[in-house]
């Protein structure tokens, strides 16, 4: 029995452990699910073991990559971590670094997100490695990821080439018992050797470097054939009717499924830890011994495509394994079981769970969609801007606030920073036709630093005029509360230099800047209208509003200082059905009336009326009081408050707050009434400003 310390850790913590055990000196990262937990774990190991390792949260992935890469030129061991789409941002330095190479070991950890669960694509980083011509290791579980890291650093140093470790989400966010190995102490003092022919190679030298790179990759592929720690065969035999080639998580699934089906002694597995460059020799010799070969790899057919003779292969290219979505044990079990039946290998019947699933599906249980937290200031901002510009276009960005979609205040979410560039492109496209419409871009503080600022510079330079809202909660919330440059705190908690978004915005050439507390919804709506007017002025330009309020999850205590307890006053209990007022039963003084002088003829009321009681003929709007249910939606949606309707002073279950404000603490009870979920309500009091009926009121303390 081993006497090493054991812990149950997250895959990303196992990766962090592997990095420190390799004697890494320098680590940089930008947060992104599923990679975000690596850096905090490195900081913990650093503190626990008093290690001299430089750690930084960088501004974006390209910056992180270049910082770590050049540190490796000084001879140090360095690493960088990001999510798979982060590598797109760092693709420029990656491509070049393959040619230039490294001095100290340089390892890139890129976490893929098949599914996808928290990403815009399911891209397979192993393809990026192949494209850039750098080796990639594909760990099967946290334990193997930890084990692969020292190998990755050694490879990188031996061949002077960057090496990628590609865990998928099911490795990064798996948890597993691992043993802690001793931490290597590798003494390396920074020593940059001047060599312009290499470090700033001109195209002529790049050609030579490319040739050297091709030779390196050839040599590495050769070496991989004999690295049995990474590539090995289980249940090897001279002949098999079915064999499996499995890489990464595919291997873990194959192992568990074969043992569950009692086939672990029947079907040989070639485990591939190095999908690129492929150790062709052992792959071909394995295929030679099998009649058929199933290939299990996540997410694209990277190994499959590298095998020249595909006649025996079963996998993604022939559609046996689905070409999109996460590879699931249910699918692989069915595939293996079907193949066994086909090739006369005895296999137990797989019990179906379909009847039960069908019975549950028939219940029509609602799917719980993710939502902004109770008390989140982003909700207030989104509510205010939609209210101010019901017909505006709302480009947004990547972060918690993408969930503004639920409030119909997010029209686009493309990639980091695209809120700003999409807004300026939209402005120019409309402006070209002589049309100016309200365009409100929303971006978080961290995303603005990441890649929003260049888009803003471009917008100002090219004369775009729209409203840019920087939703400043002073933290990178979605990925787990990493500090932003504004806080001035660095990755390991030491003080750095706090940056100011205001100064950055002004530095981009913006003349109109307002900082607003989004908790004042009415004030924010006024500011939004003023900002729009500025963009329309002849001498106007870009208008930037910073809505600043700390993340409620991160700073719960702040809210507790001044809690606003609210309650809902209901109309008298209904005799039957929903407590909804029927216009026919209402005194005429309570019916909605359109004030023509205030009406901006935007048709919002016509579109929003749930029963189609409002129609438009020419410039006139008519309300059909026989249809009107008195629900108040028109009065609440009208952007110019042109529909007058005295408040009932009680909740009539119109559902406006549920639909437009979408707070998880406002729920519809089984009797149809709106209730406050006391378990989740954080007493922010924001909903007081939302109900136009006066149904939500403040409880006096």
């Amino acid at each position: 029995m081993s006497s090493k310390e054991e812990r149950v850790v997250l895959g990303n913590e196992a990766i962090a452990r592997g990095i420190v055990e390799s004697g890494c000196h320098f680590f940089a990262a930008y947060p992104g699910t599923p990679s975000s937990e690596i850096l905090p774990a490195i900081v913990r190991f650093k503190k626990e073991n008093n290690l001299d390792i430089y750690v930084e949260w960088s501004i974006n992935e390209k910056v992180a990559f270049e910082n770590a890469l050049v540190a490796s030129y000084t001879g140090k061991r360095t690493a960088v971590a990001m999510k798979q789409v982060g590598l797109n941002v760092a693709m420029d330095p990656l491509m070049s670094s393959a040619y230039i190479g490294t001095v100290g070991g340089f390892v890139i950890i890129t976490c893929d997100d098949p599914g996808p669960f928290s990403s815009q694509t399911e891209q397979d980083t192993r393809f990026m490695a192949m494209f850039a011509k750098v080796p990639v290791l594909d760990p099967a579980n946290p334990k193997e990821a930890q084990k692969m890291l020292p190998i990755a650093f050694e490879l990188s140093e031996k061949y002077q080439i960057p090496v990628i470790l590609r865990p998928v989400l099911r490795v990064s966010h798996a948890q597993q018992t691992i043993a802690f190995n001793p931490i290597a102490q590798i003494e390396r003092k920074a020593s940059f050797e001047h060599n312009p022919q290499r470090w700033s190679a001109t195209p002529r030298f790049r050609f030579i470097l490319h040739k050297q790179l091709n030779q390196k990759i050839k040599n590495i592929a050769e070496a991989f054939n004999s690295m049995s720690l990474l590539n090995f065969i289980e249940n090897d035999r001279d002949r098999a009717s079915l064999g499996i080639i499995a890489s990464g998580i595919g291997y873990s699934f194959a192992r568990d499924i074969l043992s569950e089906l009692g086939l672990q002694g029947e079907i040989p597995i070639l485990k591939i830890g190095t999908p690129y460059p492929l150790p062709v020799e052992i792959v071909e010799s394995f295929i030679g011994k099998c009649d058929h070969v199933l290939i299990l790899e996540e997410t694209e057919p990277v190994i499959e495509l590298q095998i020249t003779d595909k006649s025996k292969l079963i996998g993604r290219l022939d559609g046996t394994i689905p070409n999109e979505g996460e590879m699931l044990p249910e699918t692989i079990t069915r595939v293996i079981s079907d193949l066994c039946t086909k090739f006369s290998i005895p296999v137990p019947e797989v019990r179906s769970t379909a009847p039960l699933e069908k019975m549950v599906a028939d219940l029509g249980l609602s799917v719980r969609r993710p939502t902004l937290c109770s008390g989140c200031a982003h909700r207030a901002s989104f509510f205010a801007f939609k209210r101010a510009f019901p017909k505006g276009i709302f480009p947004s960005d990547i972060g918690c606030y993408t969930l503004g979609m639920n409030l119909e205040s997010v029209d686009t979410c493309h990639d980091m920073g695209a809120a700003v560039t999409f807004a300026s492109g939209l402005y120019q496209a409309y402006h070209q036709d002589g049309k100016d419409i309200p365009i409100v871009a929303t971006i978080g503080d961290s995303t603005f630093y990441h890649s929003g600022a260049p888009g803003l510079l471009n917008a100002v330079y090219n004369g775009a005029k729209f409203i840019l809202v920087i939703l400043d909660n002073s933290i990178t919330a979605m990925t787990g509360m990493q500090p932003t440059p504004e806080s001035g705190l660095t990755a390991d908690g030491h003080p750095g230099n706090p940056l100011s978004i205001e100064e950055l915005v002004k530095g981009c050439g913006v003349k109109y800047l307002r900082v607003v507390n989004p908790y004042d919804i009415k004030g924010l709506i006024r500011e939004a209208e003023k900002a729009y007017k500025y963009t329309l002025q002849k001498d106007g330009g870009m208008a930037v509003i910073i809505t600043r309020y700390p993340c409620v999850i991160n700073q719960r205590e702040q809210l507790k200082v001044n809690p606003v307890k609210v309650d809902i006053r209901h109309t008298p209990a209904p005799e039957k059905g929903l407590p909804q007022v029927k216009s026919k039963e209402m005194p005429s003084s309570l019916l909605p009336v359109i004030q023509e002088d205030k009406c901006c003829q935007c048709d919002t009321c016509v579109i929003q009326c749930p029963v189609g009681a409002i129609s438009r003929t020419g410039d006139d709007y008519v309300i059909d009081y026989n249809k009107c249910t008195g629900c108040r939606v028109c009065a609440q949606e009208c952007p110019t408050s042109a529909i007058e309707m005295p408040a009932v002073g009680a909740c009539i279950a119109c559902g406006y707050c549920l639909r437009r404000f979408e707070c998880p603490s406002l729920i519809r009870g089984e009797d149809g009434r709106v209730k406050i979920d006391r378990l989740t309500c954080v007493d922010c009091g924001l909903c007081l400003q939302v109900c136009g009926q006066g149904g939500i009121y403040k409880v006096s303390s």
Partner: protein
């Protein structure tokens, strides 16, 4: 990070363990704490563990599901129809994850489910019949009510494990889990957590007489 660390307990006398488990609920209900308690138990007893957690987008109020496998396993996911144990903190999420429980061929000793819900008969007749036929045993317990009554609504998860640990086929011994709760819960909640755990166990003993 789990702050759990341990040198394996060489005195462990428990039999070899191969358990697959699902914990389901809604973001914020403390699914991860349950995971941490079971992980601590496995670590102390020297059983290898692998599992999977939800992070990121799914933590924002969405459905949360954790997979745990204790014993000789390589992959972190539990296949449908393979779980020995289901612990569910929410009634709808329980229904959505029922199909993970292992059906048996002879109608006996299938998967075991423990669900936090106030109405013991909230599942419809056809579902109950189906489960019975497949030997899947479901126990419904108002863990949240017990937790609220004892002054810590956050400890619904602890009440449910306490309840489950009274079942003779529940694979983790009550006293060992109690030690893990003692180690894993933050000091502020420790005392109340243990009380709630014991209360759950007591209620479980009453309603699940062997």
């Amino acid at each position: 990070m789990n702050s759990q660390s341990s040198i394996r307990n060489p005195q462990s006398t428990l039999e070899k363990m191969n358990i697959q488990m699902i914990i389901s609920g809604v973001g914020g209900q403390g699914v991860l704490l349950v995971t941490r308690i079971i992980s601590d138990f496995a670590l102390r007893e020297g059983y290898p563990l692998i599992g999977s957690e939800d992070h990121g987008m799914s933590q924002r109020g969405g459905s949360v599901i954790t997979y745990l496998k204790i014993g000789d396993f390589n992959s972190p996911l539990v296949k449908r129809g393979s779980a020995d144990i289901l612990l569910s903190l929410e009634r709808s999420e329980a229904l959505k994850t029922l199909h993970y429980l292992r059906p048996s061929s002879n109608g006996q000793n299938g998967g075991l489910g423990f669900i936090n819900a106030s109405d013991p008969n909230y599942m419809n007749e056809p579902i109950r019949n189906y489960l019975r036929e497949k030997g899947i045993e479901i126990h419904i317990f108002p863990a949240d009510r017990i937790a609220v009554e004892m002054g810590s609504v956050q400890s619904t998860n602890i009440a449910l494990i306490g309840f489950a640990s009274a079942h003779p086929r529940f694979p983790f011994p009550h006293d060992k889990l109690r030690q893990s709760i003692d180690r894993v819960t933050p000091p502020k909640f420790r005392e109340v957590s243990l009380k709630i755990f014991d209360k759950g166990f007591l209620e479980g003993g009453k309603s699940m007489k062997p």
